[in-house]
Assembly symmetry: C2
Amino acid sequence: MNKKAVVLSSGGVDSTTCLSVAIDELGIENVSTVSILYGQKHSKEIECAKRIAEYYKVEHNIINLANTGIMDKSNCSLLAGSTEEIRHESYAEQIAADGEGMVRTYVPFRNGLMLSSVAALAMSIYPDDEVDIYLGAHADDAAGNAYADCSQEFTEAIGKAISLGTYGKVNLRAPLVNLNKAGVVKAGLELGTPYHLTWSCYEGGDKPCGTCGTCIDRAEAFRLNNILDPAL
Amino acid sequence: MNKKAVVLSSGGVDSTTCLSVAIDELGIENVSTVSILYGQKHSKEIECAKRIAEYYKVEHNIINLANTGIMDKSNCSLLAGSTEEIRHESYAEQIAADGEGMVRTYVPFRNGLMLSSVAALAMSIYPDDEVDIYLGAHADDAAGNAYADCSQEFTEAIGKAISLGTYGKVNLRAPLVNLNKAGVVKAGLELGTPYHLTWSCYEGGDKPCGTCGTCIDRAEAFRLNNILDPAL
């Protein structure tokens, strides 16, 4: 019996690096990916996640939480029904303007919901195996408590809940949690991560906007590794 | 600003008692309920939960996880697509026959998935309030580790994850967790819980089967309180 991995894949830099780590650690035949729709304004990230799974020839699962009634009443700026615009400034600028705490791109308990969904999926598709869920959370995510559901403390708590609630069969791993984003890119470059297939921008255009929080972070991470972003 | 409560309501004895406790503690105007479809063989419990919400005149929300792709591949005996039959014997008999650990009515990480969904819903419907999620878990649920996601340890871990992942705005309460099922019924009778509207049976017939694990447990809990089950 081999240990299996289910990698939460958003098609972005962090989760794609995490996929490379899982393949490196457990072997490609034991790895599958899962992407989650929760009512995003665009589905670009799912298309990229699918292409990345095809690149590695791993199974790609989709969980669709968009029409479940969970977030219908949320006005988070990433959601399709929201009246809020996505802000075109860095997280550091948002925190400077608004103070520490919740940013407007925080989706209600998104990581908790996604990880719980993946834990249930993992037990369903691998009922006889032990499964590690790989999550691409990293140290920068929790800066200024912008995203409460990305902190190491949160990841540890939900990981404990997942282990306890699955008879110890499913466990959460966040192998990048001590790295900043530049460190994530460095690790991924060493593993040959296909960054040219990734998408990070909050907007769903043909090309990344270059000015939203995640575009700014991404560009900086590649710059610190002395290369141009291969997706541009 | 009042504290709000969202009560996870399955239309059964435990969650309906929990609803009575929430109303007693926070006042009826601050309470709403939520029921979750995850692909059950029947929707009887949702109909009962709806009628119970109408009885108390509280808002009733429905989250539908049935067509999300999460449990499509699970063969749990409670799910509509399963080839497994529901067993007509008590949990004690099941544990004696199969040993301790997972029972066939364990739905993959159900409580984790439901609580995460409710945490996200709570932040969506009450963005400006603190919200307590009320869960009707009780001491008997975790006997023999039959349901790993009902233990007190699990409830504490997921509760911590919910608090951390929502900036402390949403918290989990399990006010019945130290009571056995007879104790739950005793507490509910004192609060006037409308047990005549509840449904517990795993089968979806016109009347409870009387012989599945949950029917047996329920009958015994009323018997120990010296009354007949008012739903019969």
